[in-house]
């Protein structure tokens, strides 16, 4: 049984309770009074990708729309500007809740795989934990080639003037492609990460079993 089915089974028809218990800051969701000031003050203006604004997501959670909430791309579009937190008349930590729901959907394997923010987050994490340093060249190339080789080349060509400018200004080192710079204590970093994963895993497992 997957984690997703296990949790869906555990909470049955009470998706709000599931969010409250499993999602970081999820216990705030019930405090929303549906005034809409979070969405109104959001600078993203819900361009096409922002399907459900925050207060609608909160209402969907209360209405038990589990599948829709976990698979939507909406919360992945949050830019963490914190406008909504500042304006919320009930002081809901909306930005954190958005990230909490996104992380939970990711954990259950429900999040849309190729959503750019999610894809980039995964890429960034792998990139920086690999050597302990961010390899910017590999990171941006990884993002260009997200939708296949053809699309990657096209995207790269679009940005070539910027890349050349960066090269000239010595802000981009082409040799980074061959491994790149590393932090001194490679082993230490990996050991630290391993320990952190362990702690996180046991904490989340306990929560899920809870």
């Amino acid at each position: 049984m997957s984690a997703n089915t296990a949790l869906a089974e555990k909470y049955r028809n009470n998706f709000l309770k599931e969010i409250e218990e499993q999602v970081e800051m999820g216990d705030w969701v019930k405090m929303c009074m549906q005034c809409g000031v979070c969405s109104g003050s959001c600078p993203t203006n819900f361009q096409s990708a922002w399907e459900h604004p925050p207060q609608e997501l909160f209402m969907m959670i209360r209405a038990g729309k589990r599948e829709e909430v976990l698979t939507t791309t909406s919360m992945w579009n949050c830019t963490s500007c914190y406008n909504c937190i500042v304006r919320c008349p009930r002081k809901l930590p909306i930005t954190h809740i958005m990230h909490g729901i996104a992380e939970y959907a990711h954990r259950l394997g429900k999040a849309p795989k190729m959503q750019p923010t999610r894809f980039f987050s995964g890429l960034f994490w792998k990139n920086c934990t690999h050597t302990g340093r961010v390899n910017e060249l590999k990171l941006s190339m990884g993002l260009y080639f997200k939708d296949g080789f053809g699309a990657g080349i096209k995207e790269g060509m679009k940005m070539k003037d910027v890349a050349i400018g960066l090269l000239k200004a010595k802000r981009l080192n082409p040799f980074e492609l061959l491994g790149g710079h590393k932090c001194k204590d490679q082993k230490g970093i990996q050991a630290m990460l391993k320990k952190a994963y362990e702690i996180e895993r046991s904490r989340k497992a306990a929560k899920m079993a809870g």
Partner: protein, 427 residues
């Protein structure tokens, strides 16, 4: 208004608005001596500044007139205007209040003939109209002011204008040598009825109050609609004097907001519903009201009032807390937000935006003499620790006129019980 010596069987009422007047009269009509202290030059408070009140839409002059008549007929109430309590000492049954009385520069001889007002040239801001307009520096505070006596603004004292006023008066009523006085008043119980103040709308930064001329507050809108107001009862917008026919009302401007006022101010929804009547009254053909709300709280038994407004085709309800207001080139305020019914984004220009501002207790942040227990919003609690200092009206809670009167009567009753005990002990 006979003078009488205040004893510890006297009841001190602080604040001469609808609550204070009610408490004073209820107590006096049972035979108690009352001292009523009002900081403005006339009684009536914020009630007298309304154009009409809900639900019957009658003019406040009516309700206040009845109280003023009771007051004129009752020798047991001593009214002190331009007076403020600066300290209270003692305890239940034995208080001594220090009261500062500002000079009015006009004595009892005044007949309110208005000659001084005509003689004086200096203009000063008119607080009765929330400073939307100006009036002469020798003025009657409002049309039905009680006491019906002129006031000289301190700004002209020592200038030739003051001498002009004095010369114009046929009754010798102007006394330019009046000085601030401090008196002591004994009292057995105190009714604290200092009312409320509109929440400072400039603090709600995204709404642009103070930056955009055509964003005003609900209390200011009352003055625009009133025939005694700065526009003579025409709803004209402040920026260019254009008729404001497309008006937005924004609910919860400050209220129900942890960043501003925690409490629901209770009256604002009804006030906006009431004010849509003004729009229709002034512009029956093409007046248009839009109410932006979180949820309409037509308190108590006013649901039918709400339903009638809902049925009015000139009124639109949009379920949304407006996120921000901007201004377009024509000076129209533009409301931005998301309609939570259908989650649709809107950007809507209006002629005028009226912020239904919340009630802030006037006691908040002020050091009430003595120890007063207040709730998290600053309203006075009914707490035994307050001794015989009883909150009444909007000093004790966010209330409409009707409930303020009920609350004042209750406070008067508590005060009466205290002074009765004092009287028994002394007999």
């Amino acid at each position: 208004m006979t003078e009488h010596v205040a004893t510890n069987e006297t009841i001190l009422v602080v604040g001469g608005g609808i609550s204070g007047m009610t408490a004073a009269l209820e107590a006096a009509e049972t035979g108690k001596n009352v001292v009523l202290v009002e900081k403005n030059p006339a009684l009536g408070g914020r009630t007298s500044q309304l154009y009409r009140y809900f639900p019957k839409l009658c003019h406040p002059t009516c309700g206040l007139e009845i109280n003023l008549r009771r007051l004129k007929n009752n020798p047991r109430v001593r009214v002190l205007t331009l007076a403020e309590v600066s300290g209270i000492e003692g305890g239940t049954g034995d208080y001594t209040a220090t009261i500062k009385i500002k000079p009015r520069y006009v004595n009892e001889n005044c007949t309110a003939c208005g000659d001084c007002g005509r003689a004086v040239e200096t203009m000063v801001d008119d607080p009765f109209n929330y400073n939307l307009g100006q009036h002469k520096a020798a003025y009657l505070p409002n049309a039905m002011a009680y006491p019906q006596r002129y006031v000289l603004d301190p700004a002209i004292i020592g200038t030739p204008d003051a001498d002009k006023a004095k010369a114009a008066c046929k009754y010798g009523a102007i006394d330019l040598d009046m000085k601030e006085e401090t008196i002591q008043v004994k009292a057995g119980a105190v009714v604290w009825a200092t009312g409320w103040k509109p929440y400072d709308a400039a603090k709600i930064q995204p709404y642009g109050y103070g930056r955009f001329k055509n964003v005003i507050t609900s209390v200011e809108f009352e003055r625009l609609a009133d025939i005694h107001g700065p526009t003579g009862g025409k709803i004209l917008r402040p920026s260019d004097g254009k008729e404001a026919k497309n008006i937005a009302f924004i609910q919860c401007a400050g209220s129900r907001d942890e960043n501003h006022l925690r409490h629901c101010s209770r009256i604002c929804c009804m006030a906006s519903l009431k004010q849509t009547h003004y729009v229709r009254e002034k512009y029956p053909e093409d007046g248009k009201s839009t109410i932006y709300y979180i949820d309409i709280r037509a308190i108590d038994r006013f649901e039918d009032f709400y339903q009638k407004v809902q049925a009015d085709p000139s009124v639109t309800f949009i379920k949304s807390k407006v996120a921000k207001i901007t201004e377009d080139e024509q000076g129209n305020p533009v409301c931005w937000g998301v309609n939570t019914e259908g989650y649709k984004r809107y950007t809507t220009p209006h002629d005028l935006v009226v912020l239904a501002v919340g009630m802030e207790p006037s006691v908040k942040g002020i050091n009430i003499p003595g120890h007063i227990v207040a709730d998290s919003s600053g309203f006075i609690e009914a707490d035994p620790a307050n001794g015989a200092v009883f909150g009444a009206g909007c000093a004790s809670n966010a209330l409409d006129v009707n409930r303020a009167v009920q609350s004042a009567t209750a406070a008067a009753l508590r005060a009466i019980q205290v002074v009765n005990k004092v009287a028994k002990a002394e007999a």
